[in-house]
């Protein structure tokens, strides 16, 4: 029952701040797309523009075939008529209404018959596993429960589009994990096109079918989680996605099939690339050996950070520092020597001046 959303050249300014800068985005029906980016990059603003709570300064928005906003034509459909639902970061449950009233509000405005309202409220409560809480007031429930009610309030009138602004950010880590699974399931069952705002990359990677990374109001990359993780289209995205962070090593293409990093060289396919570059490789893609190994470079271990499932090792050679991730608790200790192998198949190269991706990894 989802619908497509098309955003064309959308710009929204607040005074001198360009919160959303010329964003164009097409979202297929039933997609779960995440807007991801650091604080202040314009995620919320973009979401509110789609919702109809802000009027953009330029551009157009279609929901399905319906033009809901066009600057050029002076059209802006009121939020209540866009057939969307919105979950606010702080839930925005009406404190003076019971759960039931909170949920029936929109249905009453749509003038549904009483028994239909009752049925829908019960159904939606069941979907978020909150049956029996009808007569509670928001302040009588925990944060997690309020969160579920906020979702149920949106589900009750069955909008074609779900908009969610960091709905899990006020929950503790444990609850957040549980709710991620629930939300994904809800989306799967309802099939509504969902735009989900977060600045938590794990949330984005685990939940979405598409991730749109933003910076300073500009869309940086729109791709599947896998592509965004493995092939970030520029240095900003590469640096933003992944924890621990990707290793970014500045160097020069030497014209003989190598990237010269100063301390050592990495042989790889550098066809069509020249000049200064930044070599990017994920910590888990670097192979570490405790013995000298052909093709591996000798590093000294600076610090070891075991975390159960894996260990993070920070190693240095000269001025260079790289981060490696190895599975399990590593026997490697500080000041040990390690030999690191940079697999050319796993390396992305970025232009040193523009920061754009110039050579993509092979696997």
């Amino acid at each position: 029952m989802g619908t497509t959303i098309t955003i064309k050249n959308l710009t929204k300014r607040f005074g001198d701040v360009v919160a959303v800068n010329n964003v164009s985005l097409t979202i297929e029906a039933e997609t779960f797309i995440t807007l991801l980016g650091p604080s202040g990059c314009g995620k919320t603003t973009l979401l509110r523009c789609v919702a109809g709570l802000e009027d953009p300064d330029e551009g157009e928005i279609y929901i399905g075939d319906r033009l809901v906003f066009s600057r050029a034509r002076g059209i802006s459909v009121p939020a209540g008529q866009r057939d969307i639902g919105l979950v606010f970061q702080n839930y925005a449950l009406w404190p003076h209404m019971t759960v039931y009233k909170n949920m029936s509000f929109a249905l009453e405005i749509r003038k549904l018959p009483k028994d239909e309202i009752d049925k829908r409220v019960k159904e939606s409560l069941a979907e978020v596993k909150m049956l029996g809480y009808e007569n509670r007031y928001p302040r009588e429930m925990s944060g997690g429960q309020q969160q579920r009610i906020a979702l149920a309030r949106m589900l009750a009138y069955r909008p074609k589009v779900f908009l969610m602004d960091e709905p899990l950010s006020n929950l503790d880590a444990r609850l957040r994990m549980d709710m991620r699974a629930e939300l994904k399931r809800l989306h799967y069952v309802a099939g509504a096109t969902t735009i989900y705002v977060t600045h938590d990359q794990v949330e984005a990677l685990t939940m979405s079918s598409l991730i749109a990374v933003m910076k300073d109001g500009v869309l940086q990359q729109v791709d599947t989680p896998d592509r965004v993780y493995r092939c970030p289209s520029n240095l900003f995205v590469a640096d933003f996605i992944g924890n621990p962070k990707v290793n970014l090593l500045e160097g020069v293409v030497d014209g003989q099939g190598c990237v010269d990093l100063g301390e050592f060289k990495v042989a790889m396919d550098t066809q069509g690339v020249e000049g200064k570059v930044v070599l990017a490789i994920r910590p888990e893609d670097i192979a570490a050996y405790t013995e000298p190994t052909p093709g591996a470079v000798k590093f000294t271990v600076y610090s070891v950070l075991p975390s159960g499932a894996d260990s993070i090792i920070v190693a240095r050679t000269g001025e260079r520092e790289v981060t490696i991730r190895v599975p399990g608790i590593s026997p490697i200790k500080m000041d040990d020597s390690v030999w690191l192998k940079f697999d050319p198949q796993m390396i992305n190269l970025y232009d040193g001046a523009t920061g754009n991706l110039v050579a993509v990894r092979k696997v």
């Binding site: 709570l53 600057r71 034509r73 002076g74 059209i75 209540g80 702080n90 405005i109």
Partner: protein, 611 residues
């Protein structure tokens, strides 16, 4: 992929789009409400002000008598010259102005002294009985401002000034000096004892919000206590003192009751009483010149004060609402001090009430012996020899109709003021940062700096003739409501804004998403969520309107007489006992109202003052 060509749509489409955008802007909730409020406030505040100024610079009908070639309606400087630079200017303008400034400055400073000391004792010392002091401090303000003036007269009245002897003169058998009975000193003292509440509330709020860590840090740095008070505490409460100063000064400048009771009998006129005498004899233009002068002086004083202290205003929010850990120890004197303070407060409340009550039981004024005791002024039948034949207040239909008018006026005013507060709060808060919102906020502040009597004067000129669709309202009850609501606009805007700030914008937006229109959002979300603010605003306005005199004294007619103006009428006719009985009834009603305030959760005088 090339850069797409930007196609310029045809002109007609662009005009259509601009038109649609304009309509949408115009009909968006905050703009629509702001514009409605703007029109209303222009009508209630700016147009009347303009009309008043206009009257001062045109010839009036009656000027033909004094200036043979005057053409009514023609532009002239006649009134201004007459008031500012003629033989009568001294009597009409300069002396009263000087008196107003003396009285307002004196009363404000004295109120500041009393209020600040009490606030400091309550908030920052270990004096016992602080809770009681706190509660007692608001009561004088709840009573009509001229209560103490009336009681003063009972106590200190003197034959020398042509009155009947007061209690003191009766007891000591010698005349009381005139300076003690009438004139600036009694006016200043009686006003200060009423208005010290402002300073008490503002300063105690400021002291409470100062993080005592700031002071402790200074103490650790080795500063002496007086140095801390001077260098740390004082600068931090300065903004509160400034707010108190502005509020008190502009109120005293425009106050009519006290000066009329304690000044007029010895021809000690202030601007307020002079405006009244001019208006009473039909010299509107001259009276309005005085009102304009009064407004200007008030604004200038406020402005100078704000400039002097304004730069430090930024201290206001320092430290948040921390609780106070740092308390000055008063040592062995604390009990004596507490007793002194409480006795003072009780005397300021009880003594005036006792004196007024005592006086109402005295048949012949000036004789305070028990043989003179009577209940005539309360329950007596009409007797032509007593009080010009008026029956006792409890069987007097005039008093009942005045009381009913008072209650009715206060209820209606309180309702509209509270309602307006929510709407003003909405328009201002939702439009934060836009010029429209700023304009609404600024205009809503204007009545604050217009002294009460001048504001009333403004309305005479506005509504004595038909204006557009509005019939002449002079002499109607509706006019009293309108002027009272308009004068309360600054307070309602402030409490409305603070109520609205508590309602997160998402709560309304969630309603928008759900499809609710403006009316549904107000009815089901905004009104319920601001109801506590509404109730406290309602009750506060109820009380202040009930005992308001300066504002409406120029506008009441025999048919619309309220209790407050009724006391003045009796006072001016020399029926002191009747006047005192009426003011006691008024005080009783006000105290009942205040009691009701206390019952309501969230309703308090402090909140109503926007704190």
């Amino acid at each position: 992929m090339g850069v797409p060509e930007v196609l310029q749509p045809p002109l007609s489409l662009r005009i259509l789009a601009a038109y649609r955008r304009f309509i949408r802007w115009l009909t968006s909730a905050r703009v629509l409400l702001a514009l409605i409020l703007l029109v209303m406030m222009v009508y209630l505040i700016l147009v009347p002000l303009y009309r008043m100024v206009e009257t001062t610079v045109t010839y009036q009908e009656r000027d033909v008598l004094a200036v043979p070639d005057a053409v009514p309606g023609q532009l002239t400087a006649y009134h201004w010259v007459r008031m500012l630079a003629s033989r009568v200017s001294r009597v009409f303008l300069y002396a009263p102005l000087q008196h107003s400034l003396v009285v307002a400055t004196g009363a404000t400073l004295l109120a500041m002294l009393i209020g600040s000391i009490l606030a400091w004792l309550v908030i920052r010392t270990d004096m016992p009985g602080r809770h009681l002091v706190n509660n007692l401090a608001t009561i004088p303000y709840i009573m009509p401002s001229w209560t103490i003036a009336m009681a003063w007269k009972v106590m200190f009245n003197t034959r020398v000034a042509g009155g009947t002897p007061g209690l003191l003169e009766y007891l000591i058998g010698r005349p009381v000096p005139t300076w003690l009975a009438y004139g600036p000193i009694p006016i200043i003292i009686s006003s200060a004892l009423h208005y010290y509440t402002f300073f008490f509330l503002f300063v105690s709020a400021a002291l409470m919000s100062i993080d005592s860590n700031l002071e402790e840090a200074a103490e650790l740095a080795g500063a002496s206590r007086s140095r801390i008070l001077r260098r740390i505490t004082f600068p931090l409460v300065l903004p509160a003192l400034l707010s108190g100063f502005i509020m008190t000064f502009s109120k005293v400048m425009g106050t009519f009751g006290g000066p009329n009771v304690l000044g007029t009998p010895v021809r000690y006129y202030v601007i307020a009483t002079m405006i009244r005498s001019n208006v009473a004899i039909g010299e509107f233009a001259d009276g309005f010149v005085l009102a304009v002068v009064l407004i200007l002086f008030t604004i200038v004083t406020i402005y100078i004060n704000q400039r002097l202290i304004g730069t430090r205003k930024s201290y206001e929010t320092i430290g948040g609402r921390g609780f106070v850990a740092h308390v000055a120890r008063l040592g062995p004197w604390r009990k004596v001090l507490a007793a002194g303070v409480i006795v003072f407060q009780v005397l300021v409340i009880a003594l005036p009430l006792g004196l007024l009550a005592y006086d109402t039981f005295m048949l012949h004024p000036g004789n305070y012996s028990l043989s003179n005791f009577t209940l005539h002024y309360w329950i007596g039948k009409s007797d032509i020899n007593i009080a010009n034949g008026a029956p006792g207040v409890l069987r007097n239909p005039k008093i009942y109709s005045s009381a009913w008018n008072s209650i009715r006026l206060s209820l209606v005013t309180a309702f509209f003021t509270a309602l307006l507060g929510v709407i003003l709060g909405y328009a201002i808060v939702k439009g934060r940062g836009t010029r429209l919102s700023k304009l609404v906020e600024q205009i809503s502040f204007i009545p604050y700096v217009i002294p009460g009597i001048a504001f009333g004067a403004v309305y005479i000129s506005m509504f004595s003739k038909r204006v557009g669709p509005i019939p002449p309202l002079y002499g109607t009850f509706a006019l009293l409501v309108i002027v009272s609501v308009a004068k309360h606009i600054p307070y309602s805007a402030r409490s409305g804004v603070s109520a609205m700030l508590q309602v997160g914008r998402e709560l309304e937006e969630a309603g928008q998403i759900a499809g609710a229109d403006l009316w549904q959002r107000f009815k089901r979300i905004i009104f319920p969520l601001t109801s506590a603010g509404f109730v406290s605003g309602f009750l506060l306005t109820f009380i202040t309107t009930m005992r308001e005199l300066s504002l409406i004294i120029l506008l009441v007619t025999p048919a619309t007489q309220v209790l407050a103006s009724q006391t003045m009428r009796y006072t001016e006719n020399g029926d002191t006992q009747m006047a005192n009985a009426v003011i006691l009834i008024l005080i009783t009603l006000v105290l009942i109202g205040n009691f009701v305030i206390g019952r309501f959760r969230g309703g308090s005088l402090k909140k109503g003052l926007g704190m």
